[in-house]
């Protein structure tokens, strides 16, 4: 029940802290747990890391190496915005794979004291956005874009971590991701714009849906279902009190 291999105590402390942090389902990890698992006593921890936070910072630094490695671990696709998309997804996945570590890294917010890790992550994203800017694909400054995208990325990841694993819906991530990337990109808008000048009445909405259904050929309903659906739609849209 101890990590007393040949490694020096400093390493054993780091590994013990990381391991306990990963296993502790949100519960706080005590220095006594850590030192016991590492097979050392309290003063050793404070000799090497100053205090508990110093140890955690060191663990975070190691975690950040892994994070950065993940963020770089794919060949540039040649499309910077596509790479940003992958960075986003990697960020979310990192958070979901190691939620405790992620919370220490990005969730441990204190007023007026910015974790260094956030600045690093921003720099990483800004670097990638610079390529997009160089390719004329950005309509805002890379730094502002990076801050904005990262803020949303962290917000989404925190939300997903807070949800029960069974209810997690990654569509929240992809939707927010594409919204942010689209907003900073300079791609010329193309395609038809849906018309939605309707008022809030049920009747108007039903009529609009009716017209839209007639025009398109949606196959979400079978023909018999569609027939009945249209009949009800008609009944609603001819309702006197909308």
């Amino acid at each position: 029940m101890s990590l007393d291999g040949q490694l020096p105590p400093k390493m054993r402390l780091l590994r013990a802290a990381a391991e306990l942090l990963a296993k502790s389902a949100g519960a706080p990890v005590s220095t006594r747990q850590i030192t016991q698992l590492a097979g050392v006593t309290a003063p050793t921890l404070y000799h090497h890391f100053g205090d508990k936070e110093g140890l955690f910072d060191a663990v975070v630094a190691a975690g950040f190496e892994e994070y950065v490695a993940g963020e770089r671990d794919f060949a540039p696709s040649g499309q910077p915005l596509e790479d940003i998309r992958r960075m986003w997804d990697n960020h979310v996945q990192f958070g979901l794979n190691q939620p405790e570590l992620y919370l220490v890294m990005f969730g441990n917010i204190r007023p007026e004291s910015r974790p260094a890790i956030v600045a690093d992550a921003e720099a990483l994203m800004e670097e990638m956005l610079n390529k997009a800017a160089a390719a004329g694909q950005l309509n805002v400054q890379p730094r502002e874009a990076a801050r904005s995208i990262l803020a949303a990325n962290v917000g989404v990841t925190l939300m997903l971590i807070a949800e029960p694993a069974s209810e997690r819906n990654l569509e929240l991530s992809t939707m927010t991701r594409d919204a942010m990337i689209f907003a900073v990109s300079a791609e010329p808008a193309s395609g038809p714009a849906p018309g939605g000048t309707g008022k809030s009445s049920v009747v108007v909405a039903a009529i609009a849906l009716n017209a839209a259904l007639q025009a398109s050929h949606s196959d979400q309903l079978s023909s018999s279902e569609l027939k009945l659906f249209l009949e009800w739609l008609h009944r609603i849209s001819t309702s006197p009190a909308g």
Copy 2:
């Protein structure tokens, strides 16, 4: 040095906790501090609130009242999306005005345990988005839109709180805000949804009708008919591509 007015101990505890929380610049607040300021002893706290977290939850509940009041404290502009914008700004301002309280409310993330406050805030935003949907101004489900917008809103607010007050740049907020609102909106002049996956007018119309039906109480269909009708409507409005 104590809040021992005529108020009952329960109230004094609540006020003491709120006051210490507001003043403690990020530092943790102990139960001993709270009980001393309130002029009571430890068991009183645990009698009324169960444990420390229960007391904090009560403080948060009071804070949430204030938050909700702020979110509703403006006359509806008639333009739901403009109201969403104001909700966003109010959210950020609330966080910057009371960072400690905000961090307890939205920053205290633990894996797999969602703060009730988040669900409430989502419901609040979803309510507003329903109006936008009813007006045909949304191209995604109000619930998904609310989750996405709120996630980004929280992320931005946390980032701003973490920054030194002198460096805070609210443009981060407005930029992210407009990006999110634009992404979920179906405004004609605005172009298609991000990524080129524009929703067809059928989907927009179906979402609008759905919202309108929820809002009104049309009796044109029987309850069993309505149930099936809504199910089909859902199938249409979640269709991957019109």
